[in-house]
Symmetry: C2
Subunit: 405 residues, 2 copies
Amino acid sequence: MASKVLKFGGTSVGSLERIRASAAIAAAECRRGEAVAVVVSAMAGETDRLLGLANGLGFGLGDEETDVVVSSGEQVSAALMAMALRREGLEARSFLGWQARIRTDGPPGAALISGLDATPIRKAMEQGCVPVMAGFQGASPDDRLRTLGRGGTDLSAVALAAALDAQCDIYTDVDGVFTTDPRIEPNARRIQKISYDEMLELAAQGAKVLQTRSAEFAKARNVSLRVLSSFAEPGQSEGTMIMQAEDIAERRIVSGIAYARDQARIALRGLSQTPEAAAGVFSGLADADIGIDMIVQSPASEPGRANLEFTVDRRDLRDALTRIGESDARDVLSETGLAKVSIVGLGLNRRADVARILYRALAEQKIAVRTVATSEIKISVLIENDAVEHAVRALHAAYGLDAAA
Amino acid sequence: MASKVLKFGGTSVGSLERIRASAAIAAAECRRGEAVAVVVSAMAGETDRLLGLANGLGFGLGDEETDVVVSSGEQVSAALMAMALRREGLEARSFLGWQARIRTDGPPGAALISGLDATPIRKAMEQGCVPVMAGFQGASPDDRLRTLGRGGTDLSAVALAAALDAQCDIYTDVDGVFTTDPRIEPNARRIQKISYDEMLELAAQGAKVLQTRSAEFAKARNVSLRVLSSFAEPGQSEGTMIMQAEDIAERRIVSGIAYARDQARIALRGLSQTPEAAAGVFSGLADADIGIDMIVQSPASEPGRANLEFTVDRRDLRDALTRIGESDARDVLSETGLAKVSIVGLGLNRRADVARILYRALAEQKIAVRTVATSEIKISVLIENDAVEHAVRALHAAYGLDAAA
């Protein structure tokens, strides 16, 4: 019997009405003969409400008790979903993280799944019961509740799918992964199939549809993922399949365009040109868990010295500047009001005209490019915040992604 | 080292401000050298909110998943209380029911504590940590969450105190047990010491300060109970001690007066005068878990037949009438708009003038008595709903309970 894990995100369980609609989708899958397990997020807004209570007492993410508070959100939605499934005529029951034997390592608020013994959930499925697992949570070796960090319910779902050798359908409030944000470019099209690596880059560059860690985990464990909408009638959302690159027949140069506003650029002028100097800069930032991107290094005019620059989220800037305070750079400059636009595609590394199209499209819009950073399947440009929409639309058309094209 | 279990009810943890105030009380106890464990209810209103979610999907108390939903309330307040205690400079951590190894028997929504292995909590206390246990909850033999029924947090606290051989302080929003409801009789006085049995009768007859099952459990396990207010400054509420009758030096005839509005009277006329007939009536009601009180049986005019009457809560009347449908009574009558007023005291059974005072005081107020029922330490009268306040005030004065007396 084919198995499927259905994950319903916060908006898909955001009200009793939405829970009923999502239960109807799961019931339709069951009637098609799938053995179904469900994984749920907290009701939309609930995690923030609960976090607000902890904040009010001076505690935040990273504290053990905050995890106890916050994980109650998924506890409630899992039980409500089990009720709604029973209303659909199915047998169903909730499994909290510890009941599903999800073991975690790592700190509160950002724990990693170290083990998942799917025996109880598999047993329920074999008995014709739909297990509804509370996402985002597990238990530490000493049996305390742990949460997996924001978006961790995707990770719960993918880990369960891997343990059950099942496909994983991620239900959200959009109809799949789009070539870019439809709020900016109405011509954005749904992508039917995309590789794990492209999805990873899109997620890392700002596309919010799937958490990076989940895509990584799915790739490593070869879990077939599908992202689709719970707001369509059952069976009406096709969504986007996320799979191994070699399983995708159609080869596109560019799959999608992501963007992230409110970036800050930090430039260290005249840093010692030794690996230790640069490593020292980044180790301070890594200790503080500050995400960095678009690293560019170039020789400085002073011999034996280099200029090093990179971007961080605007909200991390102050913290980041403190952490690199002990470098031997002659000068540290920072700049805000910037945004990052990234084009992502498996074909990028095999085509010479990609960069030409990029520069020409932006030049035609008179958009100045501060920095360019490339990876195998991604090119990111740093531009002014105000130019984001123009840039996304121009690039979407230039790379032939428009629906009309 | 002396140990104390401090239980904080819903209003005592009803907001972050109240949680902070209750944590300050616990911290003051710690500074006095007590080894303290804390047990908490859900934040006031939270259980009803959560129950409303389950109701919205067609499920109520008594369902396994409702227990999963509702028990999240105490999970949140336990973690928040642990945070607030840490802000007071103490070490503290939350224990959910299953983490505190509270085993339960019985149905969801009304489970009984079948075992409590206090080892983890005792260990925390020995290490100088204040354990904060989520009340109202435990785990079934197959590791599903169970709740103990309304007011079950008192039971959690008393069970923990019994296991730790500790005193149990029940913090609420009133300053102890009063001779009657101060909202009705401003001359009501706080009772300093009261016996378990009197407390039991007062609770059963409508005094809401402590749940009946908790008082029974405390009596059976000889746990010293104190009911006091968390709304006073730390150490400023003396409250009421609840203890064995023989430990109370002062002997009063009447300790307190309780009342319960909205009672209904059911009268079965001409029931077969066999033990089986009456047992049949009550077994149907017991199956439906309907509480009955003030049972009076008298011979009917027809030989071999009896009249049987009793009271139920108004809201149980319709259900009760269905359940007794199969009796062989000639006639079943019911009446609503009634209230029960009860005088409770250890001295009642030794004083002949108690009944005289009762009838005289009510007669002076022209209050008609429908039914009288007595136990060793209680006399209850059934009167019209509208007469409750007059009756309570008249009896409070007649038995010398007024503060001025």
